[in-house]
Symmetry: C2
Subunit: 498 residues, 2 copies
């Protein structure tokens, strides 16, 4: 069949090879079919790319549904503000300037309440200030005659734009009024330059400012009352979550070190992700700073009053990073080539695991303090436990020399080889000593974290948990008493039966 078909299509070229076999020469595909194949490949690649992109977007949405809610909020605010354009009475009020309301919503609406309020206020005040200044310049220019008017206008635009641009380089201005400075330049240029043409300058400015106020008010209302995302709350969650990550990372790291090549192979089951949690701490400085900046613009809400010490969270973040640097160094010890001999590891493993579990429980307790905004009653106890574990570790390190020089103690006649033997041992023991001293350093840095958190508790007036605990203990004691009474009664009954 196949042969017949080939024969039908015309002449077939066939080449005979050295080993007697023969190969038919298939003619090249025509240009159209080649283009078609290329196009198919291109489309398939494109579809695959788009599909992957959509899958990633889907994952982002599933990970944090609030992002999706934010998008819907933006859509809603924009649709509402568009109504202004459709409703004739409102349209007559503000005229073509309704576009400024739309523009405001697009530009001002941010993810968090603080950022939205910051941008809104910046926009309103930047516009107003620039508007007034532009009026002044316009008046001066109009008084100075036809010739000088463009000159004065141009010079004022040049001067004020340059100055305002420069102010954006100053850190204190950049942190809070960056957007305001840009809006200032924009409005000033627009109003000054339009002043030359538009006669009803005052009306225009009035309409523009009122539309901007409509836009910003709408944004602030939507962002504050529909599933609000508070920058301050985000900052607090970020800090406490990072603390948990740091604690897990520390735990995982020490486990990994002592179980590596050891009998327990649980470490293989642990995901690497948990171990590398400290990297989140290292890389979240910029986020923390922007959140703290925005949080200051937020009104009192929930458990945060207006003067909540947001700057203190940055200090906590810094102390956490300082601890994370050490965890990074610790983590590198795992990969280190010259691993310590098993016996020294075994000697220190228990106490190191104790120090790490105590340290991480301190961090977790502190994270809980931030999470619940309540002083922990057990933090002093936990810190004290960590300290005593560290002291135990130091004591155990004291015993290392004993372990290092067994030949000499057991066989005093081998004195001549003593130096080389103990030398080898000291070199071998260096990784463990480094590891242990890093652990000690980490525990001291954790104490610094605890101090910054206590400062926060002081400044933000966190309430203690002591009273609540006492209340919770009451029923427990009663229950214990009741069960004891119950036991006693049962014993009595049993005795009676006897």
């Amino acid at each position: 069949m196949a042969h017949q078909e080939k024969a039908r299509s015309g002449v077939e070229w066939r080449i005979t090879l050295g080993d007697g076999s023969s190969k038919s020469l298939v003619p090249d595909a025509g240009p159209i079919s080649r283009i078609w194949i290329g196009l198919k490949g291109l489309i398939a690649g494109l579809v695959l790319k788009v599909w992957k992109f959509l899958m990633r977007a889907w994952d982002i949405g599933v990970d944090d549904p609030r992002k999706v809610i934010h998008c819907l909020k933006v859509g809603m605010a924009l649709t509402v503000v568009s109504l202004f354009y459709f409703m004739r009475p409102l349209y007559k009020g503000v005229g073509g300037n309704a576009m400024w309301a739309i523009m405001t919503v697009v530009v001002v609406f941010e993810n968090t309440v603080g950022a939205t309020i910051c941008k809104s206020l910046n926009r309103v005040f930047g516009t107003t200030l620039a508007g007034f200044l532009a009026f002044g310049v316009h008046w001066v220019a109009s008084q100075s005659g036809q010739e000088f008017e463009p000159l004065i206008t141009g010079a004022s635009v040049f001067l004020l734009a340059s100055t305002a641009t420069f102010s954006r380089f100053i850190p204190s201005v950049k942190a809070r009024f960056d957007y305001g400075a840009m809006i200032f330049i924009l409005t000033f240029s627009l109003v000054t330059v339009s002043g030359y043409r538009v006669d009803k300058l005052f009306d225009m400015a009035h309409q523009r400012i009122s539309t901007i106020i409509i836009g910003t008010s709408l944004c602030i209302l939507v962002t504050m009352f529909i599933c609000p995302i508070w920058a301050g709350e985000e900052l607090r969650i970020l800090i406490s979550r990072n603390m948990d990550k740091l604690a897990n990372s520390l735990d995982g790291c020490v486990d990994e070190h002592f179980n590596y090549n050891g009998e327990l192979k649980d470490s293989d089951k642990q995901p690497d992700k948990k171990l590398l949690g400290y990297k989140c701490v290292l890389s979240s400085k910029a986020t923390e700073e922007s959140m703290a900046t925005f949080a200051r613009w937020e009104p009192a809400h929930g458990r945060f009053n207006f003067k909540h010490p947001w700057q203190q969270y940055l200090k906590i973040g810094a102390s956490m990073r300082s601890c994370a640097y050490c965890v990074e160094a610790l983590n590198r010890c795992i990969d280190s080539e010259n691993q310590a001999p098993e016996f020294t590891k075994k000697h220190l493993s228990n106490i190191c695991l104790k120090v790490s579990s105590n340290s991480s429980s301190v961090i977790k307790e502190v994270a809980k303090t931030i999470k619940t905004m309540k002083r922990s009653p057990s933090i002093d106890f936990l810190v004290e436990e960590m300290r005593s574990a560290v002291q135990d570790l130091q004591k155990e390190l004291n015993f290392l020399p004993k372990l290092l020089s067994p030949p000499e103690v057991l066989h005093p006649e081998r004195k001549e080889t003593e130096e080389t033997t103990s030398t080898t041992h000291l070199l071998e023991v260096i990784p463990v000593v480094t590891f242990a001293s890093l652990m000690i350093e980490i525990s001291s840095r954790i104490q610094a974290i605890v101090e910054t958190v206590e400062e926060l508790a002081e400044l933000a007036e966190f309430k203690g948990e002591a009273q609540e605990k006492a209340k919770q203990n009451q029923p427990n004691t009663n229950r214990i008493l009741a069960s004891q009474l119950n036991d006693d009664q049962q014993t009595m009954k049993a005795l009676e039966r006897v």
Copy 2:
């Protein structure tokens, strides 16, 4: 005199105290003078604050004059674009939409060429894409009758605004097209909503896009041809400057450690600033990333071709940070409470100083490679030297046990006290061992930096310095030969004289 004046002002109240002395009761100042004093204080405080602010601004300008130049460039671009409004023929061409050109300049003009081009292209393509889509929606809406028109328009605004806002959360979109997505939402909403009122929609869109193109072209021209600041160049300078800081920091840190409490007190004279240079490395991740993002938008310029491997600079930055973490740990060793005893310090000081000076010269050489964009002929030699210094340090650590147990070697009869003595010593020696092992770790991380830089040299095809060196050496050899010849001749003459 004073008494007379007081008497003149009227009755004086005087109180006599227990010890016989008396005090006059001065009447309260009147409300007007109190307000005046308060006002004076307020004004003085305000003037002082403004003065301080201006001084800080002046310092920023003096530190980096390019910031001032950037401001002048913005002023210039704005003034030029304002001319459009003043020139009647141009004004007739684009009408009231000239305002879009001004707005574009204000919003798009950024500090670096890359950022300006990025924003410009985002603005142009975002506007164009949204314009076309809005046309389509407008056409569909107008075909569906009076009733459905606002409904379709509203729904499309809601849907597209939400989708585009969501796309801004996707990292790959955020890095490159964040501004474009915002402009897309803005333009789409404006055009769709205005479409309901303005009949000459096509004209409006055409004028708007052309004014935006005028604005962006002006920005790109000014930013590229008047004292351009290239993001790529900035990235390169940042990386090489950070490397120098890291090297100085490492040097200063080791000096400080070994001169602390020692005889040499040079460390007091050293500024702390130099020592803390590694903090710049730790905190410049965000800057590096944004610079690398913007650098990709820049056209080929100077020694950078279009496909310059900007991502590799981020890798170098990451390896530098990994090294800086260790320097941070090293720095903390200086402040450590339990300082090592002097004799162990002295024992290791020379070799540690050698390792640190070798390490820092490797970093400086690598920084020079990036600065000059030429392969260094001596880097292999320097790395080898660093490695051998590290090996020497490890050898010196071998000798520590000898130093630790002098009593036992010298007095074998004191065997019973041996354990306690050597125990104390081991604990005392821990800081030095930690310090030394950190130094070893740092040198291995420096090798990682060297590797990433070599990858960069490979990818970016840096030229070698070998040939140039050879050329430079030629005259030197000649000069030596010549001077030798000269000496010989002088000797001959002297001999002749004899």
